[in-house]
């Protein structure tokens, strides 16, 4: 097919049209309107960087960014440990290993909103009643403080996403040639040495993929945040995505919310571009 072929454009029109109207046009439109007093319908005044200056002084937005960053960092570490651990576990020769895979992956298929509601019950009622029964104070009052809200969100996302990260590690673990491991075994390497010197270097690329995937996913958490804590207490567990939604659709400050959205895009893009850069570098190294 050549550029001037009718069929080339015929095949591409539906996706070009939808991508333009749904992503590209709103993206630029939003960027421009973040410099105005836009109210969702029209803009009457050009404000320059006033919205952005407001963001800089906005303690609530800054707290949302900081809270989101903390969730993202803790989740990345926890998820990679869990994901690799589960992958090593289910790639052992066991009768039940495929059943285990099925179970560990299951939470990933269910929406964050529904899972958040289930865990709200567990944190509040189940933890609470166990805490009361055995006198463990640490288990009572979950989700009513910033700290327990933070760990609630981390536990929920780790439980939900670990199966997904496990799948990525499995793909790399299964691509390791069996004879490499056997040869090392014959040479007398113990299981830790085999892991350290063969398995670990060969699954290192999976680590890069999972790290950035979990980082970018954790930054974009919304459903889990909404259903588990709804940002409470006093907006202290509100993440960036929720801050944008609430500023726009509850407080009706469209241009201001859009300036948050632009900052949000920049953060997520930096994470993604760093990943592309690392991937390229790795390809060169190989």
């Amino acid at each position: 097919m050549r550029n001037r072929d009718f069929s080339f454009w015929l095949f591409l029109t539906p996706v070009i049209l939808s991508l333009s109207l749904v992503v590209i046009v709103p993206f630029f439109y939003g960027f421009v309107y973040s410099f105005t007093n836009w109210n969702g319908i029209h803009a009457t005044e050009f404000l320059g960087i006033k919205n952005y200056l407001g963001l800089y002084k906005d303690a609530e937005f800054r707290s949302a960014i900081w809270f989101t960053t903390k969730v993202a960092i803790v989740s990345v570490i926890l998820l990679n440990f869990l994901g690799l651990g589960l992958a090593l576990l289910v790639t052992q020769k066991m009768r039940t290993s495929s059943l285990m895979r099925t179970i560990f992956f299951m939470p990933n298929l269910i929406g964050g909103l529904i899972l958040g509601f289930i865990w709200q019950f567990i944190f509040i009622s189940v933890f609470g009643s166990i805490g009361d029964k055995f006198g463990v104070e640490a288990l009572t009052g979950w989700l009513s403080t910033t700290k327990t809200g933070f760990w609630g969100i981390v536990i929920l996302t780790a439980w939900q996403m670990a199966g997904y990260i496990m799948i990525i590690y499995i793909a790399y673990l299964e691509s390791i040639p069996k004879d490499l491991i056997e040869a090392a075994e014959i040479d007398g390497a113990n299981s830790f040495q085999r892991f350290r010197n063969i398995t670990f270097p060969l699954v290192a690329p999976a680590f890069t993929i999972s790290m950035f995937l979990t980082l970018s996913n954790s930054f974009q958490i919304y459903d889990q945040n909404l259903s588990l804590t709804d940002g409470g207490p006093y907006n202290s567990t509100q993440m960036v995505a929720m801050s944008i939604v609430k500023t726009a659709f509850t407080e009706n400050k469209m241009a201001y919310a859009q300036s948050q959205a632009v900052i949000f895009f920049i953060i997520v893009a930096i994470v993604a571009i760093t990943q592309v850069y690392y991937n390229k570098k790795r390809e060169v190294d190989l």
Binding site: P107, I114, I130
Partner: protein, 272 residues
């Protein structure tokens, strides 16, 4: 050898215990959905003292579940079908055209994946509101826009394995481009279509934020209805949990029948 066997057994027992812990939230959901309110209060971990199926009946009616299930099925089904059709066409066209323009278009689609939903959400809703498209049709069109990037990327990758000589042979036999695509290429892309289908079904089925901004209550999908329902029954856990159990059942059924394809599809989509 014996020691090795014992070690494997210990690992397996550990694995089974961990798996049980992993699904314990679902256990807690189901057993407590079958209890009375007071039963939950006195013993949250154990089995119900009497089975209360009434909770499920009430939750089913209040969730308007037949209707929300049909809405979810319709929106997810139509969206995924058009994503598969249009993305495979685009992936094919981009792979068969080696020009700079074609490479640039592919780059635009890939780059669009970097844009998080919340950064375009507000202008998107405003634009579609102006042309009166905040409805099911508009939502399906939006899903095509958000879902096509990754799908085109996957199809484009798969096309490298399909030789151009197939196209040429069919063209000599008098087939036009559409016929070549539909009768020769599309069937060969079936494995990747399964992957694309699975990946898109998972996120569209579970999506909450976008439909909450686009759909009216009459068109509510399962997650939307679940959110409203949960708001009504805070602190009435027996009903809320029954509703959550009902909402999860379709996913569990789907997973039961297609778990191999789902795990393979997700693996393929993630590693590429």
């Amino acid at each position: 050898m014996k020691m090795k066997k014992r070690k494997t057994l210990l690992i397996e027992i550990f694995g089974i215990l961990l798996a049980l812990l992993w699904i314990s939230p679902f256990y807690l959901m189901i057993v407590n959905a079958l209890k009375t309110k007071r039963d939950i209060f006195t013993d949250v971990l154990g089995f119900p003292s009497e089975l209360v199926f009434e909770n499920f009946k009430k939750a089913y009616i209040d969730l308007d579940f037949t209707k929300s299930l049909l809405n979810s099925l319709l929106i997810t089904g139509v969206s995924v079908a058009i994503i598969i059709l249009f993305s495979s066409m685009a992936g094919y066209a981009l792979a068969r055209n080696k020009s700079k323009l074609s490479g640039f278009l592919l780059l635009v689609f890939v780059a669009a994946m970097l844009i998080p939903f919340q950064s375009v959400m507000i202008p998107l809703i405003s634009l579609f509101g102006k042309v009166d498209m905040l409805n099911k049709t508009g939502l399906i069109f939006m899903y095509l826009g958000f879902g096509s990037s990754l799908s085109i990327f996957l199809y484009h990758g798969a096309m490298t394995g399909i030789s151009n000589s197939l196209d040429e042979a069919a063209t000599i036999d008098g087939a036009n481009k559409l016929q070549v695509f539909w009768h020769i290429i599309f069937p060969l892309l079936k494995p990747i279509s399964v992957t694309v289908g699975i990946l898109n079904v998972i996120w569209i089925w579970n999506d909450y934020l976008l439909p909450s901004l686009v759909l009216s209550d009459a068109d509510a999908t399962i997650p939307l209805k679940m959110f409203l329902f949960f708001g009504q029954y805070t602190k009435q856990w027996h009903l809320a949990l029954a509703g959550l159990t009902i909402a999860i059942i379709p996913v569990i059924i789907g997973y039961f029948f297609a778990q191999k394809q789902i795990i393979e599809g997700v693996s393929e989509g993630a590693v590429k």
